[in-house]
Subunit: 439 residues, 2 copies
Amino acid sequence: MAARQLAALGLDVVVLEAHESVGGRTRSAQVAGVTVDLGGTFVGPTQDRVIALAAALGCRTHPTWVQGKSVVRWHGSRRRYSGTIPRVPVTTLLNTERVRLLFDRAANRLGADGMGRSEQDEISLGTWLTRVRAGQGATALLAAVARTTWGCEPDEVSLLHALRYVKGCGGINRMLDTEGGAQQDHFAAGAQEMSLRMAAELNVYTACPVRSVRHTAGEDVVLETPHGDLVARAVVVAVPPAMRNRIVFDPPLPSGYQALSQRWPQGALTKAYAVYEKPFWRDDNLSGQTLSDDGPVFITLDASPEDASRGALLGFIGGDYARRFDALPQAERRLQVLQCFAELFGPAALQPLGYIDQRWASEPWIGGGPTAHPGPGALTGYGRWMAEPVGRIHWAGTETADVWSGFMDGAVRSGERAATEVAAHLAVRTTDDEMAANA
Amino acid sequence: MAARQLAALGLDVVVLEAHESVGGRTRSAQVAGVTVDLGGTFVGPTQDRVIALAAALGCRTHPTWVQGKSVVRWHGSRRRYSGTIPRVPVTTLLNTERVRLLFDRAANRLGADGMGRSEQDEISLGTWLTRVRAGQGATALLAAVARTTWGCEPDEVSLLHALRYVKGCGGINRMLDTEGGAQQDHFAAGAQEMSLRMAAELNVYTACPVRSVRHTAGEDVVLETPHGDLVARAVVVAVPPAMRNRIVFDPPLPSGYQALSQRWPQGALTKAYAVYEKPFWRDDNLSGQTLSDDGPVFITLDASPEDASRGALLGFIGGDYARRFDALPQAERRLQVLQCFAELFGPAALQPLGYIDQRWASEPWIGGGPTAHPGPGALTGYGRWMAEPVGRIHWAGTETADVWSGFMDGAVRSGERAATEVAAHLAVRTTDDEMAANA
């Protein structure tokens, strides 16, 4: 996004991508003729910047399927329900709603910069759940939220980070809902299409990891790549915070930046898809949406193509479940996912036309997904260095966004912000140069 | 240490050191003619392996100065005391002793592998202090321990990691004490001398960071360095866990290893020395040892040469204090440290012959000091990958040690363990090759 905007200003821009393809944490694949999104998938209301980009690029979305009853698997038993409230014990529901209100209220009370009282950065979301006496049921539900949202257990993420993150989404319901929320729509041709279309209009080198970024004595920055050095006037580094550490900066980054990179781990979230002849669960009046208090698959969604020419089930495996699941051989992973799908939707789920999974924690240039989960102390200790430029180095990536950080929308916003910074930076320099030339 | 042992077995060993000098987190400097240790400094009883190494290399130690009264600065007032028990309010002392006993008891109850109940990995040391009602005074004392031990605040380190770490030292007192503890002796010519003497007998390249480690289709591993590729039969990677991420592994490390590297941050601990004509505080019957509940310098020690030909004060700045201190210009840092020394030892402290500080968090190849502080979830989630070899890659470094991890002794032990592993690994291969040749 930063490259697109700077190129539009007439600047000479080169994109150096470490992976073999562009898209970062969006990656689309074909399974039995169906396009599935292995990473970022959905968009929803208030995600205005990614929606505007998709429109500009002609990337079409359609509503996520929500008709029919949903399924909750809870304490080993399976129940159907309508609407968005799962059929779990009523005390669990009431307690969960109480905890949600407490959480949203605390999130709304954060200051304009999203940095609240530092005591909120001293404890984890898990410790907070204990303090507010969330109880076993509500804690299990909130753990499922942590696993999908950050790819971690509630104990691994700072309460302040969780509050700030959810505030940037507009609240828990906006973040979690399908209709009216962040899962409302998905891309007909896959979310990666946006990056592919942008790349087609840019000068992009793939499989080209930048190994070092060196400030010269002059006004330049030199990027070392496997194909040689590249000299630039400014650079936008758009890798996850933990991956900044993989680049050698010369001179070294100030200690706060180095420390941040060590304290902003990427989560463990794996996505699995099974594709069928038909979305057979719809015949049974099921929406394909499920929530489970056990794994490995603990959330599912219907990801079938709009015309229902095939059926596609998407399952999420996150946090502790992902750690165990990711280490298994492919055949075993496939078996476990299909068995989960069969328990939820019947034995027909055992016979898919195709299966695929994507373990984001295995990606050497990304390091995990869907986003990062700084633990206690990291945000108030080092958060200020997240997007602050260092000389001619600017920072982008969804983790640097204040709004919808962790989502495709945050990624687009961060690119726009970085482009604005670079444009200002270079314009000032140009003026200085002209003044110097005139002097 | 690994290289020394493998070379002694007659193997052809090359040491590739990223920094300009060997020694890692030991580094000695001269200030006004006095040798000071900017990193690892002290040794004490039960640190048998580093003591054996020092003896073998002829590196002499002498006792740390402890005579005279110590000083505690507490709630803004300064008091002298004798022995090891600071003069803080008696309720604080009793409560601190209660918390210490609780902590040591929990540490002793850990299993043989040091992995205890996973619930202990779900909370931070800080949350545990709240749960056991440590109170303000004991919490402040334990915070000082966390800052010197791990370079972090109590909220940033997993309770289980803290317990396991202290257990590996033989208890809190063994870890913290001067006489009979880990600060008992220090090196006459500096701790770095051990590495320098070992390096003199080895084939060492400094300023030679390894950029990638590639397993070949055959039996080799190829190390990419700024000076070209090096082919080896096995490699020992002895960098802090967070720095493993800076090396490109091909094929990529399994996801558990990548995740560990993102979740094992190096601490923020800075050491400052001022050197004087004489250890003038001794004339005042002061030991030079102080403890403070405020910073930036919150612990001091007398680090004068054995013959007292000069006086040297060592001050520690850690955790939140280090974050602020490290960002200041040198003149301001010097002023703040000398003012702290003057408050504790009188105005003579303002006129040193020389001053030096070392900010470990600014070191691009080390990333912080004195050691790492994994937060909640990291140890039970990923600790098993800390020292487990991957193909021909073996791991060393003090963080991989079970006993005295984080200390020089743990570093030596880890090198010995890695050397044993590599020797076994290569011997097995040799036997296999011979069998294949004979078949």
